[in-house]
Symmetry: C2
Subunit: 434 residues, 2 copies
């Protein structure tokens, strides 16, 4: 016996079917918006992550030297890989580039509820549009995906902020502020106590009174955003506030405005965001963590050696998304479904195989005996795979050119002409012959 | 700029769409037979592979020590993982267990045509049936998948053999034969010259004359299989020949018999096969390597600490399968497809967004402007994504409650009532309004 590695998971069929349904729903939503699937490697050069996130990222990576002496890492996120791919074909790609993919990523972190060392994300990104409509389309795809999963507007809330408002406000203080550190402090605001939060702001360069003032500004309601422009008195904050308003206006056109709440205290931890950022939260608070997030990152492509290219995206993680679906009661049933089981009695394999083949040709899921088992054992198996209809192909029935059709829910059964199965029927059931 | 790692691939949308279509076709075929999707980890304990395949396998592995001191390896194949999963829930699983999954695997080998360090396989396995019908079902799923891809019976051939016939024949010689080494020699028969082949058989313990005799036996035609039974005079060979005949009989019932050719020189390199084995070849020989293979491996589960459990499966690799599809001219077109582009002229974003939303609700792929671009730039973009129909939402048309519908192939255009788009139409096009 071997043990699975800590933080990694096996998915057996019933659970996998539910997961696949959720993944397909998110992907299909993005596809309907014209996002195109891409495929990316599981290994990338370690330096790609170190350059982007600093040497400390290595502690979280599954990084090693391969047999050819390359320093490689299991990809901890998709963004650097898509940035690399975009830069490689930047000239020939028709813009905006809209890409989607679902795959596992790996981080050496302590597993906890909704967090694993191997975790699945669907990444949805737009490259090449700085227009507020691109930000709004990302919000719309996210909301549509959640709706398609069966979640209602009451189930989730997008808390929307703007990195450049935060950065512009910090810049406007008469202090030498480490903006990155200060934004990281904001990101931790809900997770640490007040003392720690203000200590972090102080460490970032704000005086005690500036920190309090800054924190007050973060509570500015949506209809008073002009106060921030007045406070800062800079073009930067003015442009950022204007941009945020334009994104929210576009969100109205895209039907996603009511899912959005202004929340300047939402910062998103990742350093590369540059404009609108958002996080999706469970409205009931039962799932206490951010379900997923996204935002604009206009500097990354240039940082990867490409031409300056605006970009915006989001990436639902399927572990936390699953927690939200479960909380809301919309997680798909974890059970197998089977349309037909073709039961063989006696030496009827050839006829059973013909019927099974024809039913499969109509698009149904069909099993038949491949173990030479008894009537009872076959019926038990058909029950275990939740077969809806059992077609009993018995030697005696066949003498009359008949099969028996059994509805597994009611237990009712009747005979049907063997040639009528499926005959002209698209999905023959007990009702068709009773 | 960063470089992709050697032997790893990026898939851009057009190619990815073709690959996805092929993967879906193979998976859908297995699903119709009641195979259920599972999910498995990318990392497993290195010892799992060493125990199964010997210390030399490490040379081919991406193996390393993780931060917790575990010796781990990127999975080079699926079988050990599914064996581990099966053993873990052996008691509660309803048999036969039928599992399918598609994912990447990794081997540190020299890349060549159709071989990469990161490669994708669809694994299809049955656990818990020793019946010849299970072997035949695997052959049938394989053939049906190829048919569903558009390949005809003339395009491919399953060369079918039986490990226990080979093993039983070798055992019947008056010599101390290393069966594994001899079967590996048979596996290399087509790849090395005769001298090398006979040298390998000799190294496995056969005398020169025995090697020639053994090789002659491998050419036995299907209607003379009893000669092998007579030659060996053992229950083992008798049972193996009987089993092979029964599998071919079941293949007849399952409609796959004509795809199968007896070929005792087909050995399959992997040591764990125990019964019927097969390899799929390109009938034209243009793809010179085996496209994929499979077979019965009845001892593996016990080797993983489980109850003795018969098993049979196959695993098409998508690189070689792609070569066959390309050779046969059935590889899907590598181009994007888009149902609608909703073009905005002037300040019409709200109406355009409503139309796009409604069309998406009908299941279509719909893009619209998210870049604030000109008429011409939008039309060029719509062309670049192969949009079938462009719906032009212009301020002037809207004053008459109309939009313009343009068929991109013909270039024809006409007006349509804005409320009629989509209105009652499932898929409104130029023809509906011309």
């Amino acid at each position: 016996m071997y043990d699975r590695i800590k933080g990694f998971r096996d998915f057996y069929p019933a659970e996998m079917q539910a997961r696949r349904q959720v993944i397909d729903t998110v992907e299909d939503t993005a596809t309907a918006y014209g996002f195109r699937e891409i495929g990316t490697p599981a290994l990338e050069p370690t330096e790609m992550y170190v350059d982007k996130s600093g040497e400390e990222i290595v502690e979280e990576l599954y990084a090693f030297e391969d047999r050819g002496g390359r320093e490689v890492a299991l990809t901890p996120e998709l963004t650097p890989s898509v940035a690399r791919m975009f830069v490689e074909k930047q000239q020939e790609l028709s813009k905006p580039v809209k890409w989607v993919s679902t795959r596992p990523f790996w981080r050496y972190e302590e597993p906890q509820q909704g967090r694993f060392r191997e975790f699945y994300q669907t990444n949805v990104d737009i490259f090449g549009s700085a227009d507020p409509a691109a930000d709004a389309e990302i919000l719309a795809v996210a909301a549509d995906a959640l709706s398609a999963l069966g979640l209602s507007d009451d189930d989730f809330d997008f808390q929307v902020s703007h990195r450049d408002i935060l950065g512009g406000l910090l810049e406007s203080f008469d202090a030498d502020v480490d903006t990155t550190a200060a934004i990281r402090a904001v990101d931790k605001r809900a997770k640490v106590d007040d003392d720690e939060y203000f200590r972090l702001l102080s460490a970032a360069g704000l005086s005690d009174s500036q920190a309090v003032e800054f924190d007050d500004l973060l509570e500015t309601p949506e209809d008073e955003l002009e106060d921030l422009v007045a406070f800062a008195g800079t073009d930067r904050v003015e442009a950022a506030v204007e941009n945020l308003k334009n994104v929210l206006d576009a969100a109205t056109d895209f039907g996603v405005r009511e899912n959005c709440t202004l929340s300047l205290t939402t910062a998103r931890g990742l350093d590369y965001y540059t404009g609108v950022v958002f996080e999706c939260f469970d409205s009931t608070g039962e799932v206490s963590r951010s379900v997923f997030g996204g935002g604009r990152y206009d500097d990354l492509i240039e940082g990867f050696g490409g031409q300056p290219t605006p970009a915006v995206g989001f990436a639902p993680g399927h572990a936390t998304l699953g927690l939200l679906c479960q909380r809301a009661g919309v997680w798909p049933a974890e059970e197998l479904s089977t349309d037909y089981y073709v039961l063989q009695v006696g030496d009827t394999r050839d006829v059973a195989a013909r019927i099974a083949r024809d039913l499969r040709g109509l698009g149904h899921v069909v099993e038949s005996d491949i173990s030479g088992r008894s009537f009872g054992a076959q019926l038990d198996y058909a029950d275990s795979i939740n077969a809806e209809t059992v077609v009993i192909v018995g030697e005696q029935d066949l003498e009359n050119d008949e099969v028996t059709v059994k509805d597994m829910e009611s237990g009712d059964q009747t005979t049907a002409p063997v040639d009528g199965f499926p005959g002209d029927h698209d999905r023959p059931t007990f009702e068709d012959f009773a």
